[in-house]
Symmetry: C2
Subunit: 242 residues, 2 copies
């Protein structure tokens, strides 16, 4: 496995240092000056996962902290009978692995092939002590996530199936824009099932609503899992219950 090979050779950052990282600036690391980066590079390991592989499992001891550098992952919680709630999708520059009581409260699974930076908890905490601005940035990003979670509660609790799908598409488009990419088309590599488990619908209903929006000329499905928003304003209007 790539991870083990990298670990055996020591931190891979020595070979491909953070200086060349495509998501630096957007991620937590963005607050560090170039001359401070080496402290981070010293403790980072690069990790790969393929489609459907697990990264962390709900309930496991939280030994690591991760930043996504490439690909998409899902954050999910399970009920005993197999019902699943996806609580978020992670794109490059997103982080995960903060744990309160020492155990992860969710699982993370690769939706596509996935590249990650992994930091050991102890060494990462030491770094936070050394650079308080890292903690400041972390609080900022956690606040953002909290706001996104609350928005998603509104989607889950009070929106119709049609509004849910429109919200999902608008949210991804907006996120794409925030990350410096075009707001359309958006890359949606997750299955209808993954999406349904995110917005609280079944695979079938999710598919039906996508089809409906497509027939209405609001979206177009392109090759390579790209979806084009043909009328972003109208989609946003639908998403907002209008």
């Amino acid at each position: 496995m790539n991870e083990n090979a990298a670990a055996a050779a020591g931190p891979t950052a020595a070979i491909n240092p953070c200086g060349a990282c495509p998501v630096r600036g957007l991620a937590v690391c963005g607050v560090l000056e170039p001359d401070e980066l080496h402290a981070l590079a010293e403790i980072v390991h690069e990790v790969q996962r393929v489609h459907r592989q697990s990264v962390i499992v709900e309930g496991d001891e939280a030994h690591n902290f991760f930043i996504v550098t490439g690909g998409v992952a899902s954050v999910e919680k399970l009920l005993a009978d197999g019902r699943r709630q996806v609580v978020g999708f992670l794109y490059p520059s997103d982080f995960f692995g903060l744990a309160i009581d020492g155990c992860y409260a969710y699982s993370v699974t690769a939706v596509t092939n996935l590249s990650l930076c992994r930091f050991e908890r102890q060494r990462y905490l030491a770094l936070i002590d050394r650079f308080p601005k890292l903690e400041h940035r972390l609080l900022g990003m956690a606040s953002n996530e909290l706001a996104a979670s609350q928005e998603q509660m509104l989607v889950l609790g009070r929106k119709t199936a049609r509004e849910k799908v429109a919200s999902f598409l608008s949210m991804l488009s907006e996120r794409s824009r925030r990350l410096g990419r075009p707001p359309s088309p958006v890359w949606i590599p997750m299955t209808r099932g993954d999406i349904g488990d995110y917005i609280g619908l079944t695979t079938e209903t999710t598919s039906r609503k996508f089809t409906q929006l497509r027939k209405e000329g609001l979206i177009a499905v392109l090759p390579d899992a790209m979806i084009e928003l043909l009328d972003p304003a109208e989609l946003k209007r639908i998403a907002d219950g209008g």
Copy 2:
């Protein structure tokens, strides 16, 4: 209004300093040593609200940061047509008012008579600079909130009405225990409508499920909005989909 009277007279902490605060230790303030508390006491204002009064409004500029010291408040988001999602209930020691882009992303309304500590944003940020452990504590509490939000997404997206109500009761009982109070009976001063807007049900369905649990002997409704959990383990089992 109490708030204005207090403001005119200067920080009320001079009269009733943080040293006597019932929720210190549980709240953010808990990390400060007694001799550091006066720095906090200097910038705090005590604020009161009555039943149904608004504390902050979604979209307003975020000038303040609050800690609940007494009573219960609801955190909510609205859709244009009036649909409401309650994203959380605030009990003593909870905080709110962190804002990312300078505006509140939710409204906060008093469910009961409510007592709050209010901090002006600027002065609070200055204090964080001075005491980094405040920020550390804030990150810890934000992480907790984030985990609670994700748990609530599971409730909203994937649980049945019966499981939702059982989850709500179990959650409040657990929270009561964490705050050093008995896990039963729990104080539930919010209406069936408030609860329904929190767990994604109508008033009627919420009421029906409460009645059902009562008839099954799992809960008892006591005077003064207290609800007793007669079989916490079974309620938890129901909540977990079991």
